[in-house]
Amino acid sequence: MEKVTERKRRDKIAGAIMRAAALDGVSELLTVTADDGTRPIVVAFDHELVSDVLHRVSWTGGYANLFVVDLDVKTMDVASVMPPAASLDAGAAEVLRPGAVHGDATIGMLLTTVGTAEDGLTVQVRLPSNRADVGLVSERQAVPV
C-alpha cells in the first residue's frame, strides 16, 4: 500500500481549503494578499520546523495565508505571514530573535507564542535563513474535508 506522504496530506488539505473558498465563499480566512494580487495558501502541520515552513512561504514571495494543522484533533490555526517590509503592524509587533524562536522550533510552538503576544497579534520572526512577520488570524478551526 502506498504510504501517504506529509506532502500529499498537505495537498489534500489545501484542496479542501480551495474548494471551501470556491463553493462556500470561505474567504475571510484569506487575509493576506501578495504583491501580485493573489492570496497564496500554505499548509503546515504543527510539528513542522519554523524554518521549513518559512522556506515554503518564501516560494510565494514571503506572503502566505498559513494553515497550521493539528492532525490529532483535526483542527487548524490560521495565520498571516508577510515579509517584514510589508507588515502594517510593525509598530505594534513583538520581536522574537533567534534566541526566542529558532529554526528548529515548531510552527505550532510559534503560533502559541503569537497567540499570547501582548501588543497586537503580529510577531516578527528573524531567523538566519528567513524573516517574516506572523500574525494570528483565527484559532482552532475545524479542518475542512
Partner: protein, 159 residues
C-alpha cells in the same frame, strides 16, 4: 382453401413501415424544432464579489496550482484551475488550464496544444459551474505530478 397473404400495395409490412417512417419523421421534426440549450454567459469580472480572485497553492518549489474564482451574490459563477511548472530558466509555464468560459468546461494543456481546447461539458446554468468545479479541481489535484513529469520528460509544447 389457402388464402393468399394479405398484402397492400406497399408490401407485406408496408403499413408498419409507413407508420414507423411517420414516427421517425415526427421525432426528427420535433428535435429540429426544440431550442438548443444556450450557453450560460459568465458575468463580467467587474461584477464579481471581493471574495473572487486567484488563490495559488504550491506543493513543491517547481509546481503551482492556482484556482481563479469568480463569485457573484455568494455563488460561484466562474472558475479556472491552472497548473504552472517552473522551467530550467526559472520561468513559470502554464501547462494545464481547465475553465468554464465561452459556454463550456474545457481543458487547455500542452499535450494537445494550449490553443486546442478539449471540450468536456457544456455550461448552460450557474448550477453547471458549481457542479463541474469539484471534478475539474480533482482532475488537476490527482494528476498534476504526472503532468509535470510528462512535461519535464519532453512531451507537449515547450513555450
Amino acid at each position: 382453401m389457402r388464402y393468399p397473404p394479405i398484402v397492400s400495395g406497399r408490401g407485406k409490412y408496408g403499413a408498419q413501415n409507413a407508420r414507423a417512417a411517420r414516427r421517425r419523421a415526427r421525432r426528427s421534426s420535433e428535435a429540429a424544432a426544440a431550442p438548443e440549450l444556450e450557453a450560460w454567459p459568465v458575468p463580467p469580472e467587474g461584477s464579481w464579489d471581493p471574495a473572487s480572485g486567484d488563490i495559488p497553492y504550491q506543493p513543491t518549489a517547481t509546481a503551482r496550482i492556482t484556482e481563479r474564482i469568480g463569485r457573484v451574490d455568494g455563488r460561484l459563477v466562474f472558475y479556472a484551475i491552472m497548473l504552472h511548472c517552473r522551467n530550467e530558466r526559472g520561468e513559470w509555464i502554464n501547462i494545464w488550464r481547465t475553465d468554464c468560459r465561452h459556454g463550456t468546461v474545457h481543458r487547455h494543456d500542452v499535450f494537445h496544444g494550449m490553443s486546442n481546447p478539449v471540450v468536456l461539458q457544456p455550461i448552460t446554468s450557474q448550477h453547471d459551474v458549481e457542479s463541474t468545479y469539484r471534478t475539474s479541481y480533482a482532475e488537476v489535484e490527482d494528476n498534476w505530478e504526472e503532468m509535470e513529469s510528462r512535461w519535464r520528460s519532453g512531451e507537449g509544447d515547450r513555450a
